[in-house]
């Protein structure tokens, strides 16, 4: 696509999606989907997007319902399982503190996917995103209760799996290609540079 017209078209479409999101949110807050609430929602959404102008989010323009459902269900399962894990950890008398901060270089080059991945892994108890390197798409994640390198690599693999599910669901075609490549080609790992 040509950079000019393509970019503008995509951001117009993104804005319509986000605009509809605002209206739906308004209806959710009122708890009713009547003509009145939709109309007042549209009016409010216009006012808000004019008054509180923010840079447009560049949605990828691609969504796969099946993969989105897979992602959400898996997220719920992960949250439930990991919450019980952390709850158990808290009362486990033999708990010995041992955690780590991992640099995880993601495949994606999209800010949005990176944000969502960070949200998703932060939502699952046991991991917190401590810092982010946006240029290199690196997340620095604090992991609780890992005892050895195997555990660390398992966790790293689970983050990549989360990212892949997310990209398959709403990522751009470019990112989908990228997550399906062998890791060494696409991730900006800078280990061994010293």
């Amino acid at each position: 696509m040509s950079p000019e017209s393509g970019g503008r078209r995509i951001s117009a479409r993104s804005q319509i999606v986000l605009f509809c999101g605002l209206v739906v949110l308004w209806c959710l807050l009122w708890g009713q989907f009547t003509v009145l609430s939709v109309v007042s929602g549209v009016v409010l959404a216009v006012v808000i997007s004019l008054l509180f102008y923010l840079p447009a989010i560049d949605l990828s323009g691609r969504i796969n319902i099946w993969h989105t459902a897979v992602f959400l269900v898996r997220l719920l399962v992960d949250i439930a399982r990991a919450s019980l894990d952390v709850a158990w950890l808290v009362i486990d008398p033999r708990y010995k503190p041992s955690s780590a901060i991992l640099a995880i270089a993601l495949d994606t080059r999209s800010d949005l996917i990176m944000t969502w991945t960070a949200e998703a892994i932060s939502l699952v108890p046991g991991s917190i995103v401590v810092d982010v390197d946006r240029q290199e798409s690196v997340l620095y994640v604090h992991v609780i209760n890992v005892a050895d390198d195997d555990g660390l690599e398992d966790f790293r693999a689970s983050v990549f799996a989360t990212e892949k599910r997310l990209v398959m669901a709403i990522g751009s075609v470019d990112d989908v290609w990228r997550v399906n490549q062998p890791n060494e080609l696409t991730r900006s790992v800078r280990r061994g540079r010293n």
Partner: protein, 138 residues
Amino acid sequence: MISDDIREIITVVLVLVSALMCFAAGVGLMRFPDVLSRLHAATKPQILGLMAIAAAVAVNNATIATFALLTAIIIFQALTAPITAHMVGRAAYRSDHLRRDLLIRDELSDSVDRAEQDGAPPAPHGTPPAPRDDRPSG
């Protein structure tokens, strides 16, 4: 529809799960050793607890209005809780409020060192600005 008895039982189980999660968060705050670990206990299990409470409310008051409001509540909690954890965690790391002796690996400090070696000003995102001494905090 489901009978009242079954509904009661489901509600009780959900509320208990939620209470357990809040309890775990409280104990975790006391027991875990440093800020980053405590954040895990303090911010996360409540999401499950909140979902359980919301489900309990929805089971007892199954109207579209309730579902809609609960959905909005859960979405916003799920979106904002990780941000809180991230901001606190980031501040804790930068101000050195963590027990480095409990970390079996710290790749963030590796890249901080690397950035300092390169002599370039630290990247706008991602690396703490000032060089730190590695004293154990506490």
